[in-house]
């Protein structure tokens, strides 16, 4: 894991979130949510500051971060791509769609492209089973996605033809 030095402002942000929750160990999950919302992700250095502020061991913080899939130690891409792996999507070929995204973006699930543009993740059911298989890029939903369309979806974002919804995500 590359070691980064946290900016003073980031440390300040973390401390403020911790303080908001009374620097209590029992508020760890809320603190992690708050910090991830502000900083985008929870790298080791961030977890160390949180552990220090809440007077708990960094191993315990890491334990919680790795338990919940919502928390991430890798910065999400500018355009987070999520492929639904719920039952309906799965039986209608979500796996092939996922495979095509991996191939095109050259990343595995949970990773971000080196240029920071795309990150790839899986999720379970977005409540649009009628459109299966479903892919989300940011907040924008793509339905009935076939592997052949994947290249085109990616291209939309490469060319800058981005909808406002996807950008804000």
């Amino acid at each position: 894991m590359p070691k980064i030095k946290l900016a003073e402002s980031a440390v300040q942000t973390i401390k403020e979130v911790c303080q908001k929750f009374g620097n209590k160990e029992g508020e760890l999950i809320n603190v992690l949510h708050g910090v991830q919302e502000k900083l985008g992700y929870l790298p080791a250095e961030v977890q160390e500051v949180i552990a220090h502020e809440l007077t708990m061991s960094v191993a315990k913080v890491y334990g919680v971060v790795t338990f919940y899939s919502f928390f991430t130690m890798i910065p999400k891409g500018l355009y987070p791509v999520s492929i639904c792996m719920g039952t309906a999507c799965y039986v209608r070929g979500a796996e092939q769609v996922l495979h095509e995204f991996k191939r095109q973006l050259k990343v595995e699930v949970g990773q971000t492209t080196p240029d920071g543009k795309f990150s790839l993740s899986c999720l379970r059911c977005v409540g649009a089973c009628g459109l299966a298989p479903v892919v989300m890029v940011g907040d924008k939903v793509y339905g009935r996605v076939a592997p052949l369309q994947v290249k085109q979806i990616i291209a939309e974002y490469h060319e800058g033809g981005v909808t406002q919804a996807a950008k804000s995500a």
């Binding site: 061991s57 191993a59 913080v61 334990g63 790795t66 338990f67 899939s69």
Partner: protein, 584 residues
């Protein structure tokens, strides 16, 4: 207190409200099998995550089976501990655990001492019906502890020890589901973490997931190297526990047999760490008196309380967590290191050999001693003062493999000069012992009077935190004792906040002190074993003619011939040390 009545296996039992089914059953002699559960009575140490489900029992009127270790007994409850349903569930659970466990028992370091292996035997498992994925984790080796997590059954005992008892906080369960594993933060190696190598995780691990670094091979090679003079020292707590490895009762003293065994193994000189424990008292006791004198004279720069520094896990603990206070502990090296340093100077000179041709092996109840002897400041030109630190368990293994019939060995004596010791050196092996030894000497040096009674009952016991005031002829000396790093932390926080009442504090990392060390024969959750070892240590002390460190004739001679006096320049060079801030 409210009492409740219940029936277990058709036997009536009355227990206090709040008692678990497991404890209630135990009180009438019914032992429900357990695996993740562990309780050390009187030490306030308990692990009951209810995780493994081996202890399930049938409770009348309850739909599912109840885990006995964490289900409270209730009034009128009817419990059956070995119905076919309960027994089958237990066996299924165990088979599932075994389905994700390597079947390399024959060559596992824990073989014969493994709770999982014993349980498979007890439940008569002959086949594992479930074939599934096997965990694959990389092995992690540190100076003292090896983590082989493919063998981990997630009982969480190590995590409980590391966090709740020791407050070191290195280990935590991480990840989820099948990928769960107990690990340091960010899956870093143990030697990059703040691990103190106290070894309490190893002491309680039910399987071979956590074991010590085995150095018996290196020691055997040294013994068979004709160019080396191999010297061994044995820590006080070893003699009170080694017998357990040879089926003797806990608390059997095997000092003489241990010496005989070491001689048969081929060590050239069999010496005693108790000798250097006496030496530690001379240095640490003098340091205590110096600080007290300056305190009485009103010197505001004097650092009190003085803290003992014999325990390497404790030293590493304060270097990580309390580096701002690193001037407070005594600068005296531990007995192991004092021994090595004196052996490779004073004794090497006597023999007329170079330090490079001498190998110093220590037999320790401890895992942190393996780390300690590798610290840079304890070597000269790359040659360590102590070359290898073996645990009590490793010594037992060496004796067994060498075909020595330990139980029928005669009792033999340590060699001279570094084998001579007093009762004060012996009691270093138990919580309270170092400070009692220090008091015996400091009292006489300070008052110039003979102690009316050498036993200080007020300093003894198994309470995690103890305090007592000893009257030094009108000068009350306040003494604190902590064993277990969580207890030590409490005293340190008091000192940090400036509210400490103490003049001197003894700290040992392991519950019970060295008798409960991470390198001792496994106690398998039986705290009585620790109690018996403690009794044995005090018995060894009372059997000695000399009970005070400053009476040790060979220590007196060592100062006359070599060191001068305690805290002399030479003593500083060889017997004292400095501490480091490890937060950087």
């Amino acid at each position: 207190m409210e009492m409740i009545n219940l029936n277990i296996d058709n036997k009536p039992v009355v227990v206090l409200k709040g008692t678990t089914i497991l404890e209630a059953a135990k009180s009438i002699g019914i032992h429900i099998p357990t695996l993740c559960y562990m309780k050390l009575d009187d030490l306030n140490i308990e692990n009951k995550p209810g995780g493994c489900r081996i202890c399930v029992v049938e409770v009348k009127g309850r739909r599912n089976l109840a885990p006995a270790c964490c289900t409270e007994a209730t009034d009128g409850m009817e419990v059956s501990t070995h119905t076919i349903r309960a027994v089958n569930a237990r066996r299924t659970v165990l088979e599932l655990i075994l389905s994700d466990h390597p079947s390399d028992c024959l060559v596992c370091a824990k073989s014969g001492n493994c709770d999982l292996q014993n349980m498979a035997h007890r439940l008569g498992i002959r086949e594992i019906h479930y074939k599934g994925e096997q965990s694959t984790y990389r092995e992690d080796t540190s100076p003292a502890i090896i983590r082989e997590l493919n063998k981990c059954i997630l009982c969480r005992r190590c995590e409980m020890m590391c966090n709740d008892v020791q407050t070191v906080g290195v280990l935590s369960a991480i990840n989820r589901g099948f990928n769960s594993v107990v690990s340091p933060a960010f899956e870093m190696n143990l030697d990059h973490s703040v691990c103190t190598y106290c070894g309490q995780c190893v002491a309680v691990c039910p399987t071979g997931a956590l074991t010590e670094v085995d150095q018996t091979g290196a020691v055997v090679r040294a013994l068979y190297d004709p160019t080396k003079t191999v010297i061994v020292q044995t820590a006080p707590a070893v003699r009170a526990a080694l017998g357990e490895e040879f089926d003797m009762d806990a608390g059997t003293l095997v000092t003489g047999k241990m010496v005989a065994a070491l001689r048969r193994l081929g060590f050239d000189y069999i010496f005693d760490t108790d000798f250097s424990a006496d030496l530690t008292i001379m240095e640490e006791g003098t340091e205590l008196l110096n600080r007290l004198k300056r305190h009485i004279e009103g010197d505001p720069t004097v650092k009190l309380p003085i803290l003992t520094s014999c325990c390497p896990a404790w030293v590493k603990f304060f270097e990580h967590y309390f580096p701002d206070m690193k001037e407070i502990p005594s600068t005296a090296r531990s007995p192991q290191q004092m021994f090595g340093s004196v052996a490779k100077t004073y004794f090497a000179e006597k023999l007329g050999i170079k330090r490079e041709d001498m190998v110093v092996v220590s037999i320790m109840p401890c895992l942190a001693k393996k780390y300690e002897c590798g610290r840079d400041e304890f070597s000269v030109n790359g040659n360590p003062d102590v070359d290898y630190a073996l645990t009590t368990r490793e010594l037992a293994a060496l004796i067994k493999v060498s075909n020595i019939k330990f139980n029928s060995l005669p009792s033999e004596e340590f060699d001279k000069p570094m084998g001579e010791s007093t009762g004060a050196g012996v009691i270093f092996g138990t919580t309270g012992g170092v400070i009692e030894a220090a008091v015996r000497t400091a009292y006489e040096l300070y008052t110039g009077k003979e102690l009316p009674k050498v036993e200080f009952e007020e300093l003894r016991g198994m309470e995690g935190l103890r305090k007592a005031t000893i009257d030094f002829n009108g000068l009350p000396i306040n003494i604190g004792i902590a064993h277990g790093l969580g207890n030590a932390r409490k005293l340190l926080e008091e000192i940090r906040s400036g509210n400490s009442w103490f003049h001197a504090i003894e700290i040992m990392s392991c519950p019970g002190g060295c008798i409960g060390g991470g390198g001792q024969p496994y106690h398998h959750g039986n705290a009585q074993i620790l109690q018996k070892r403690q009794v044995a240590i005090y018995r060894e002390d009372s059997n000695k003619t000399l009970r005070k460190s400053h009476q040790n004739p060979d220590i007196i001679k060592l100062y006359e011939e070599f060191l001068g006096k305690p805290m002399s320049h030479k003593a500083h060079q060889l017997l004292h040390t400095v501490y480091f801030d490890r937060t950087k």
